[in-house]
């Protein structure tokens, strides 16, 4: 891997004396000086990646169904490997259809999910908010709530839900040192290897990290319905496709060079000849 450089080359006084640094002039909520500095220092050319799966699982209520509430559904964001993403994600806001009471639902801790009853399909806006040392900007996702299967034959099952999940990866380019230090060994996060001898400050835990409460979804009640996302299949397919295309390229190139070798018979100015 290429060498990773620390972004800023400012002096690093571990205790106080921050007068030389421009950041000290701005108001900051952080209490510890070293904490503030490590959130400002970025690791250049490094990406931290958080693979997630988000979507909905909807059950038909069968006998318990009413006109306005025919389905019970859950919308969620989970770690792709079902690990706790609370170390990165501070809160998730689900924006529901305006016909719902309080359509803006805020989930302050993992597992980031929400269960509701309803009859209609609509687009749910999912906004992810990250911890202070991670990212100040929110990330917005959109998911269409699916209640009915395409296959309309036969009655809906109450046992088998309609599952719609999407896999994606959240990329944080040039993360702060604090963030990196905090999650470098976290199972939910993909973190590149830094060259040996790299000195990172000790991880500072935010008060919002739920050490006690369980945030992972490994034994989630709905986990049996979670879909499997394996890159292996896709990689295989892509590799095969690339091979095929490359073979064709070679083929066409060969033909082109052959043509170039043959004298042109149809150059306009010099007239033409019949073969």
């Amino acid at each position: 891997m290429s060498a990773r450089k620390v972004g800023e080359t400012e002096p690093q006084p571990e205790e106080g004396g921050s007068a030389q640094l421009p950041q000290s002039i701005r108001a900051s909520k952080s209490t510890e000086d070293s904490d503030k500095k490590s959130t400002d220092r970025k690791l250049k050319d490094v990406d931290i990646c958080l693979p997630i799966v988000y979507g909905t699982i909807a059950f038909y209520l069968g006998r318990k169904a009413s006109e306005s509430q025919s389905h019970k559904w859950t919308v969620y964001v989970r770690g792709a490997t079902n690990e706790d993403i609370g170390a990165v994600v501070k809160r998730v806001v689900f924006q529901l259809h305006p016909s719902f009471n309080n359509p803006m639902r805020v989930i302050e801790s993992p597992p980031f999910e929400l269960t509701e009853c309803g009859w209609g399909e609509f687009e749910i806006a999912i906004s992810l908010f990250f911890h202070n040392d991670v990212c100040e900007k929110q990330l917005d996702l959109y998911h269409h709530l699916k209640l009915y299967t395409e296959d309309e034959s036969g009655p809906q099952s109450t046992k088998k839900p309609v599952v719609m999940e999407s896999y994606n990866e959240i990329v944080f380019p040039d993360p702060s040192e604090a963030f990196f230090a905090r999650v470098q060994n976290h199972p939910a996060v993909i973190v590149p290897r830094l060259p040996a001898g790299f000195n990172l400050p000790n991880p500072v835990l935010n008060d919002n990290m739920n050490e006690n409460k369980r945030g992972d979804t490994k034994d989630h009640p709905l986990s049996q319905w979670f879909l499997n996302f394996s890159e292996a299949d896709e990689l295989l397919k892509l590799a095969a496709a690339r091979q095929e295309v490359q073979a064709h390229i070679v083929n066409v190139r060969r033909k082109l060079s052959l043509m170039d070798g043959v004298p042109q018979l149809s150059k306009p100015p010099s007239g033409f000849e019949y073969a």
């Binding site: 996302f229 299949d233 095969a240 018979l265 149809s266």
Partner: protein, 390 residues
């Protein structure tokens, strides 16, 4: 009414308070006997007479008395100075004493006599240097005269001021007259004036071209900035630019990054080509949008798209090259009767479905005799795929 407007006379000498109501009907109804309406309008209701009276002009230095017609209202002539006296303005030309001259204003190229003459003329002709130059006894250029006048004035100003700070704001002190600058300016001006029509047209063309380039550049930057909500550096290696721009985001989804990279990589391709790429992906059994967009998958996906693009371009190149030497290759390349499949791709892999069954000739050669079984009229572009082609 109308005549009074033209003359600039007030409509009525008195304010129209009570008379307002009674006035309008009175005006129209009153039909003066003996005089026409217009004349009555000039004369008005008040007792107005015109008198031939003497007057003096405060702008004059002598006591010349002249006569003119004066509008007298109810026996009282207008008061005040001659109305044109206020236009007699002049420039405050500095007057220096002999001592001041000896102290501050001596110059190797100018005698005191000349300088005095210059200042007299300046006073007399209100700094109209063209006129002054004409009347100046010895031949000096306008720039020399101006230079002498302004530098003398400047020196006197500074010398007479209590402190340098007092006059530092004065235009003469802040921006002194510069001979070379002036000469250059006038030269440039005369060049512009003497430009031929041809030169003018050329200049206009160049400027228009420059404007067009700047505008298109601004549009591209604006477009990219809109898409990415970020300022963007301009061109060369769009994929690298894309990567750079992505790094400037605090957070992004990998699918978003892939889309941007795809757009950057296909920037030179037209819409039809992009559709053909997507068609090829489908034929290869690859998801248009990866189902599991990991870093590796996205990278492979992007490379695959680029390779497909390359292949399509190569095939097009092959097509055209063949179209050039079409009929003369029939015997060498193909046995008669086979469909003219120019892409040389096995049927199982019909990329983009563009099967050049019939002749797709982009260029015309002179005297080309086509032996093609069915050659439609020479089309400028490759035809769209037809059902009959399959």
């Amino acid at each position: 009414m109308d005549a009074k407007d033209i003359l600039g006379l007030p409509k009525t000498a008195h304010p129209l308070t009570q008379e307002k109501k009674s006035r309008p009907p009175k005006e129209s109804q009153r039909k003066p006997d003996g005089i026409s309406r217009e004349v009555y309008a000039l004369i008005g209701d008040e007792k107005i007479t015109w008198q031939w009276l003497p007057f003096t002009n405060s702008a004059r230095k002598d006591d010349l008395q002249l006569y003119h017609w004066v509008r007298v209202v109810n026996g009282a002539p207008p008061s005040g100075d001659y109305s044109f006296a206020k236009y007699n303005k002049s420039v405050d030309v500095i007057k220096y004493t002999d001592e001041e001259y000896e102290k501050y204003l001596t110059d190797p190229v100018w005698t005191k006599e000349e300088t005095d003459q210059l200042f007299d003329l300046c006073q007399q002709f209100d700094l109209r240097f063209i006129v002054i130059a004409d009347r100046f006894p010895s031949s000096r250029t306008v720039e020399e005269l101006k230079d002498r006048y302004y530098s003398v004035s400047r020196h006197i100003l500074i010398a007479r001021a209590a402190s340098p700070a007092d006059v530092s704001g004065h235009p003469l002190v802040k921006e002194p007259y510069k001979v070379t600058q002036e000469k250059e300016r006038k030269r440039a001006l005369s060049m512009v004036l003497s430009q031929t029509k041809h030169q003018e047209r050329k200049d206009a063309e160049v400027l228009a071209e420059a404007k067009r380039i700047a505008e298109s550049r601004a549009r591209m930057v604006a477009r990219s900035a809109r898409e990415l909500e970020l300022p963007v550096t301009f061109n060369a290696g769009r994929e690298n630019d894309e990567r750079g721009t992505l790094r400037m985001l605090r957070v992004y989804l990998r699918t978003y990054a892939l889309d941007q990279m795809i757009v950057a990589a296909s920037s030179s391709a037209g819409l039809r080509t992009i559709k053909r790429v997507e068609q090829s992906l489908q034929e290869l059994g690859v998801n248009l949008k990866p189902r599991v967009p990991t870093k590796a998958v996205c990278s492979e996906h992007l490379e695959l798209r680029k390779e497909i693009l390359t292949l399509l371009n190569l095939q097009k190149e092959l097509q055209y090259k063949e179209a050039d030497g079409s009929s003369y290759r029939d015997s060498t390349y193909e046995t008669p009767g086979t469909p003219k499949d120019r892409t040389f791709v096995p049927d199982s892999m019909m990329f983009g479905g563009e099967r050049v069954g019939k002749r797709d000739q982009k260029r015309k050669g002179p005297g080309r005799v086509s032996e093609a079984p069915s050659s439609p009229a020479q089309s400028k572009r490759p035809r769209k795929l037809k059902a009959t082609d399959l």
